[in-house]
Symmetry: C2
Subunit: 380 residues, 2 copies
Amino acid sequence: MRIERAQMNPIISPIHVTPSSPEMQVVSAFNAAAVSWEGETLLMLRVAEVPRNVADDEVAVPIVAHVDGSAHVEVRRFKRNQPGLDTSDPRAVLFNGEIFLSSLSHLRLARSKDGYHFAIDTKPALFPTEPYEEYGIEDPRMTVLEGRVYINYTAVSRYGVAVALASTSDFVTYEKHGIILPPENKNVVIFPERIGGRIVMIHRPATTGLGGQQMWLAYSYDVLHWGQHTPLMGKRPGMWDSIRIGAGAVPMRTDYGWLEIYHGVNDEQGYCLGAVLLDLEDPSKILARSNLPFLIPEAEYERTGFFGNVVFTCGAVVTEVEDESVVRIYYGAADQYTCRADIDLEDIIDSLHTPAVLVRPPVNLNEVPYPTGAACPIGE
Amino acid sequence: MRIERAQMNPIISPIHVTPSSPEMQVVSAFNAAAVSWEGETLLMLRVAEVPRNVADDEVAVPIVAHVDGSAHVEVRRFKRNQPGLDTSDPRAVLFNGEIFLSSLSHLRLARSKDGYHFAIDTKPALFPTEPYEEYGIEDPRMTVLEGRVYINYTAVSRYGVAVALASTSDFVTYEKHGIILPPENKNVVIFPERIGGRIVMIHRPATTGLGGQQMWLAYSYDVLHWGQHTPLMGKRPGMWDSIRIGAGAVPMRTDYGWLEIYHGVNDEQGYCLGAVLLDLEDPSKILARSNLPFLIPEAEYERTGFFGNVVFTCGAVVTEVEDESVVRIYYGAADQYTCRADIDLEDIIDSLHTPAVLVRPPVNLNEVPYPTGAACPIGE
């Protein structure tokens, strides 16, 4: 299998992005949703910003606050030597057990004819304005469904990490639809067509105990209200997706099934990309699953950055090149850059082992050494 | 305010309940949903059972397993002195970081003419049969909505702690509708009538970081698919509901607003009951909230049992006595017994302070000392 990183990677760097205000500085432009739209490739970038003018002895966190009913960015400052302050994770600032994010993310549109060179809007497409978005909006996915573009994203606030939805029909005006999945949840992808009359999503709740992090399906008739939540697949001890998993690109219809490119994390390799193939008629049926990832953080821009050893996709676009279907994977590298890698669709399919190893936490308790086995799937 | 515990409390004890099979022993009959139905008071009890015939040097956990497509109870056994085994919490068995429940719960119907003396069915009404119920089904609430009785309950499995729904129109046959809220979530109550055309619930997600445990609203058109998730209220540092909160009884329509009896936990008093009053037209508006609980574990059967210092309600019934509305609160005591306490509706209303103290995590960050204040609501 050959995966071809774009030679001009990273195709978008923070330096390319105009800050949302003169007081802010762009530190990351990454984890972009991707869609083919009227002959162009459109990316919806996650743009992370930090405050300018922070003294050397200070730590500053940006928050969306509401004054007189209107939202604006407010900066909270801590002395770097303040007892109780923990900045060991570059993504967060912990203060006496409270959690803040070190940057504030919004969503920004970028357009391209060739899928490499993008014109990036100078203004945000979607900015955190709601109380449930006060720490930012992150990691969008875009699904074109029945003529409208649905943009789901992670909404972060004191209320938790939840899944919110917006939509547009023209990429000029956007409508926010509120929270569609309560905390703690992220990594949602909505299928691009109804299956059996219903809209389908994959989501990834996180729990404090039983369950841990697993990928689930949910179903809807109107894209706003979701039910029939069904466990889909869990992590696999000892494999590339042993520590974390979550859906990545919006599922792609192929002749073989729904192809879902997802991320997995293990201690050695960090955030990698692999795939799972789901039955076209019943996506709760797993047909095959990568036993090895096909994209691993290896390039310098993937290994070093805001948060290193990460390749993470929120969108891919399929194009036809000389009778071959090529998947252009847009992905975030090191939580800082936007990159592209191309891979033949057939190569991905060929790489999937059938049957998949430990496709899901087994339903039949007799199928695995349990509870004495080390591979017990609870909490995995 | 006078709250009157039934003199015959506990009105239902485990000894009153026939085991679901000869191999099992009932250890708790508690946390019952309650509803007035055709002139009777119906309780849907949570019945917790443990395996019989466990040797002194053994610990046994009951699990629902599937063999040849049918569910049956299977017992897993550990040697009590096995390294890695932790039985310090009577509700759970931890083994090398994996979580099992020490008992298996199902739901059982009980009927009464006077609300004190209950005839308890000898067979379960709802038994855990689904993969997402393998560790049991717990803490039901019943809502009569447009002629049908909806029973939501906590479904526990390796997939997490989720909210499932069943329904009945006759308490003879029941239909299961699957998971309506993904993990981690519990303490769901569905309002007994539509508000503005929509069905409304209160739910209580739990998160690993931001958010912690807060009560949320959600909305539905069909009771199966839920959306428009909206934060409702959080815990209050230093008060009776500082550590945990969750909805209890199904909301009751009063002249003053929707009366919701909920549980709060603090270190000193354990699980207590208080109330919150929500606007009739817009239940996201909090009108008043108990600054002190009105039911505290004080009786012997509340302080000592399977898990002591707990009063916990899943249902209450309003009756008219000499022109007074009396709320009969059915509640679980010490995670073992079912009890009843009566309180005048007007007394509850009078006890609610207006305005409520720290009704919810404030939206305006300027309203509270934040983030330097000790009472910062994030994670609360």
